[in-house]
Symmetry: C2
Subunit: 250 residues, 2 copies
Amino acid sequence: MAGTPTANPTPCAECPIRRLALFEPLSTGLLELMQKHRLEQRDVPAGSLIYPQDARLDESFTVFQGWVMLHRTLSDGRRQVLRFALPGDFIGFQPDPESPVLHSAQALTAVRVCVFRQDSLMEMFREHPMLAIQMAWIASRDEALAHDHMTSLGRRPAKERIAQLFLEIQHRLAARGPVDERAGIPVPLKQEHIADALGLTTIHVNRTLRTLREAGMAVLRGGLLRIQNRAALVEMTGFRPDSFSRRPIL
Amino acid sequence: MAGTPTANPTPCAECPIRRLALFEPLSTGLLELMQKHRLEQRDVPAGSLIYPQDARLDESFTVFQGWVMLHRTLSDGRRQVLRFALPGDFIGFQPDPESPVLHSAQALTAVRVCVFRQDSLMEMFREHPMLAIQMAWIASRDEALAHDHMTSLGRRPAKERIAQLFLEIQHRLAARGPVDERAGIPVPLKQEHIADALGLTTIHVNRTLRTLREAGMAVLRGGLLRIQNRAALVEMTGFRPDSFSRRPIL
DNA sequence: CGACCTCTTGAGTGAGCTCAAAAACAGTGG
DNA sequence: CCACTGTTTTTGAGCTCACTCAAGAGGTCG
């Protein structure tokens, strides 16, 4: 598995993300608990896998920095991106150690994660039921996100799918810290990633991006997403921001 | 909300499903706990809603008998079926009481559910951390199921989507009790439900069902699903049964 | 025996796909 | 600084899978 422990492994509880007031804060007791479990940080270079499809995971992760892409690859190479994980998101939770994960997690940018050993995680849950509840909360939120995604895939035309994705990204990033829509949000997605996420071909994504651009709605260029006419996008998709409201982090 | 309490409300712990050896058994301690919380049973007639989209839920449910369909409806009427819930499945978990559910749950057949009050559920979690862990497990399994579904929607042609759905249903039902594939599995789905689940039109589902039938692979007729050439379906979809392996119930 | 679903089939259309090939861009090494 | 190579984006042309519109056939239930 790719990734190297940081030179000076710091407990994750000290990670910068904890200080963002926008996240639900952990109580001091929980911080101590995490310290006790000596959680390790790990840096993963852009492009490499955090874990591969079909592996038996004995670790799971909280993303601290960077973008992670979860995707499944079928035997003939077709690929479906399941989720883009952003800082604060939890990935790789696999309660049954027997069954393999059915997707890969790949770093889209340089990524820093906090590593939980699976058994250690379970122990934490046992000691601190609240954490288990939060885990259930997180999983259930991810499921709701997946539901949005499924609705796009099943029942929206290409233009709406992209609009919806843009609004979702904008909203999720905004929940993590101030973003300047007008100036442009850093988004490390290639057109191919978008295609694989939305069930389209790269070519069709390209054409659809053009129509969005020419309609003055949104531009994705040079790793920057500019939402120019939010109202029009919202109108088109019926986007309701409360879909991704409060949530705990681990 | 539709549904009436059964004439003689029995604690869910006594519900027949508990006696199925195929489910992970609950310890006696947990049974007691559930008794203590005086969980109510409720019967819901075919067709009516267990909970509607956009509602604030203060209850969640374990399905005991029948089929439940979770679906989201967009403002213009397009509909996406998110999941078919079978006996033993948990639905309506909403850890944040503030945010509304983004989908409806509708009974496809006559359904019997076990009702959990949300606050009561949280209390159970606090008293019995193991339950919270199991909840996380359940949510995470549902997410994996959603991932399969997403992959179908995004990257499979109609024929494969239907084949995959059939295999999934067959497998999930088989995990709940003996089924006779050859004789036919009772499946209460109309072609319209399949269409809304798989992101297709009813008409196209119909045509595709015909090709599957004419290819001697599978037949869905009169509420019975007959899988006639399992190998061919598996070959086509790359279906791996372990996707839906062990899991706890609440 | 209508009224109403659900299923089925036909004919024509279109959104999104495939194949093919420029053009823009980002590194990389001389 | 520039030629060289690989990646990403863009555009064109033609095709197909799945959609729309329309209508008939089969059930089922009051």
